[in-house]
């Protein structure tokens, strides 16, 4: 094998600074972490390019594809069909893949999946494995488990590798290192690879190519994710731009593919739709540089001798029961909803405390791990709907967020969503609202609903509000709206995260009535003159 020295350099990462990334059941403190992220100037700099990139991509999509809307509808219809008949399509996929020479493994939980991969690495005597990008692998916390068993995983997607070298986790579904600036990465590479301190993106990329080549030549096992699994042929489709997934799935003698149960699509011809949608939505390209369509094992010398496909549930089948939650599984992991989300654009991915950040993460994470663990995430949204508008498979993310919020507010987690993880009281207790505060909120909203039902009650309420507003201005000055929380303590809990919007000095009805009066007076004086 070539270049042993540099292969070991890749693997010799300093573990002393590694944060503890083991599975934690503690609730994700989104509000706290988001606040910290807002004060992280370096993070804000790194994220600053995202909004304009999202806009450019959107324009490109709209300009280049007249049929965008019909493509979205077709993609969603295919996914709906696949998910509705998932049992049969999975069975067909398994049968066809086995007929083509693949070995299928089924994993109910993350732990099952980790055990399967570890056993395979032992079976094939692979102390070093190369990995191409897989969000499922992140979800399974596979790297951690492999390392604990003395197996060295090397991420080969440039962004994933950067994140691995820095002992961090990805902060975006398709742009794992978006939270780091070029300067951060240059310093990281200077420390670990000896590149210049101020290297540009091209130099850093070349350094990564050089370093990772030796890992590819040495590794006896490659682990990849899967974008789509075709039922009628048993084929796997993997999309990428860098070529690392091609290397991972063709150079080592063993290929292990990790896929969630929801990756199955019925027909090979369906790929046409998804190959038009995913690159445009994900990276703003008409097509990514490479797509690999892999069916079983190939001819000797033209790919791995063995293909193992690990099909993982890990909480997904719970989402199948209800049509509303089922659509969460239609997600093709393009990351478009992250790029346009006003919350994600400000706080980045790590604040979500989950492998899947952004709007889709706020929907998937609570369903995968239980509401008690991620009770704050469905509230990490302004419900502006930008995510729904860009979603290539038309997932109604705001509707799902509201559904999850309702479950959290009522403290009633439906039986199908994570019932084996949390009990209903935990859901309530773990949410950032304490009980008196919730009661006060509920009382206020009930009062509001009542007032909205009767015009006279509404008029009395807004009239009282205007009066109170005038008094508050007299006492607290022009910035009364900001100060009122300090004077009326319960209001502070509302105004801490929101602006108190003053009522207009006069209502529309009052203004309308006045203008009517003025017009009629005007007309009468005209008549008098005549």
């Amino acid at each position: 094998m070539r270049d042993h020295a540099s292969a070991s350099r890749v693997t010799m990462v300093d573990d002393s600074t590694a944060p503890d990334t083991s599975v934690s059941d503690a609730p994700i403190p989104f509000a706290q972490d988001a606040r910290a992220a807002l004060h992280d100037t370096q993070l804000r700099t790194a994220l600053s390019g995202l909004a304009s990139v999202a806009r450019e991509r959107r324009q490109l999509v709209l300009a280049s594809t007249e049929e965008w809307e019909s493509l979205r509808d077709r993609a969603r219809a295919i996914k709906d069909d696949a998910l509705l008949h998932l049992d049969r399509y999975l069975e067909q996929f398994v049968m066809q893949a086995e007929a083509a020479g693949a070995t299928i493994h089924r994993a109910q939980t993350a732990a099952d999946a980790r055990d399967i991969v570890i056993a395979l690495a032992r079976q094939y005597d692979a102390p070093l494995v190369v990995k191409s990008k897989s969000m499922l692998s992140e979800e399974l916390e596979l790297n951690h488990a492999l390392e604990a068993e003395g197996i060295t995983p090397i991420e080969t997607d440039l962004g994933e590798w950067i994140v691995q070298l820095a002992h961090e986790t990805p902060s975006h579904i398709v742009l794992p290192a978006i939270h780091k600036t070029r300067a951060d990465i240059a310093r990281l590479f200077a420390r670990t690879l000896g590149t210049p301190d101020d290297a540009d993106a091209a130099t850093l990329t070349r350094a990564a190519r050089r370093e990772l080549r030796s890992a590819f030549a040495t590794a006896r096992m490659g682990i990849s994710g899967v974008n789509f699994a075709v039922a009628e042929t048993g084929s796997l489709l993997i999309l990428e731009n860098e070529g690392n997934a091609r290397l991972t799935t063709s150079v080592p003698p063993v290929h292990v593919a990790l896929m969630g149960i929801e990756k199955v699509i019925p027909r090979l011809a369906d790929l046409d739709v998804f190959l038009k949608l995913l690159p445009r939505a994900g990276t703003g390209q008409r097509l990514t540089s490479y797509q690999s369509i892999l069916t079983g094992t190939a001819a000797p010398g033209e790919g791995p001798e063995a293909l193992h496909i690990v099909i993982v549930d890990n909480g997904r089948s719970r989402m199948l029961h209800h049509p509303l939650t089922r659509q969460s599984l239609a997600c093709i992991r393009c990351g478009a909803c992250l790029n346009v989300c006003p919350v994600y654009q400000q706080v980045g991915g790590h604040a979500y405390g989950s492998v899947y950040p952004g709007p889709i993460g706020a929907v998937i994470t609570p369903q995968l791990t239980g509401l008690g663990h991620a009770a704050q995430l469905p509230f990490a949204s302004s419900l502006c709907g930008a995510c729904r508008d860009v979603c290539p498979v038309k997932i109604d993310i705001p509707a799902l967020l509201l559904h999850l919020r309702a479950q959290i507010a009522d403290g009633t987690e439906a039986d199908h969503a994570g019932a084996d993880h949390v009990k209903a009281d935990h859901v309530k207790a773990d949410h950032n609202d304490d009980v008196p505060r919730q009661t006060a909120k509920r009382f206020t909203f009930r009062l509001w609903r009542w007032a909205m039902q009767f015009p006279w009650a509404y008029r009395v309420a807004t009239g009282a509000g205007r009066l109170g507003q005038r008094v508050a201005r007299l006492i607290l000055g022009p910035h009364w709206a900001r100060r009122v929380g300090r004077v009326v303590p319960p209001l502070a809990q509302w105004t801490a995260e929101r602006d108190l919007r003053p009522l207009a000095p006069r209502s529309f009805r009052a203004m309308w009535a006045q203008s009517e009066r003025a017009t009629s007076e005007h007309t009468t004086s005209d008549e008098r003159q005549r």
Binding site: G49, R88, Y290, A298, G301
Partner: protein
Amino acid sequence: MSDEARRLATFIEAVNAAGGTCVRVPSLAAAAEAVQARVRAFADEQDTPDALRIGYSDAPIVHDIIGDLHADAATSSSLHAVASLTSDALFALDVGITGVQWSVAETGTLVLSTASERNRLLSLIPALHIAIVHRRDVRDTLAQVLQELHHPPTEFPRHPPAPPMRHRAVTLITGPSRTSDIELTPVVGVHGPTQLHVLLLDDSSPVLS
């Protein structure tokens, strides 16, 4: 312009738009010359004056071109048939020459299948990939290629399973390898080829393979 002429023009344009280069060659001899020229240009770009190592696939069309290359003494490079290459030797290659089973005009995509050619690693590991496309293999859309890859469509689970696809490893290639993982800056040439050069063989002679 005929349908085919329009299709080929679209293909060339799309390959260029995707960051590759494409030239039309009227004959096998012209293709050999074009390969020679491209390899020389590539050699000139290299910092090290070492002789280039060129790997070529076992497709008949590639074989015919390689025959002409052997005769040329001007190229100070070594030629290696894919069958003779070990994994280490593959990683030492500078140039890979392969055929292409189909290509897509709309997107400038090359479709390589391992069913009839050993092209999987040759089109991936070397920094320069030279691909030879015959004009009869150019299709308008990807949908057409997918249909030719697998037809007729099979329905719900069959017992016993339908016979497996002949095309075990199919690779779709659109332009060179690229990334924008560092501050969204586009960089060409990460793990795969830095350069993709397509020769469109505009040969009306009878089918070769």
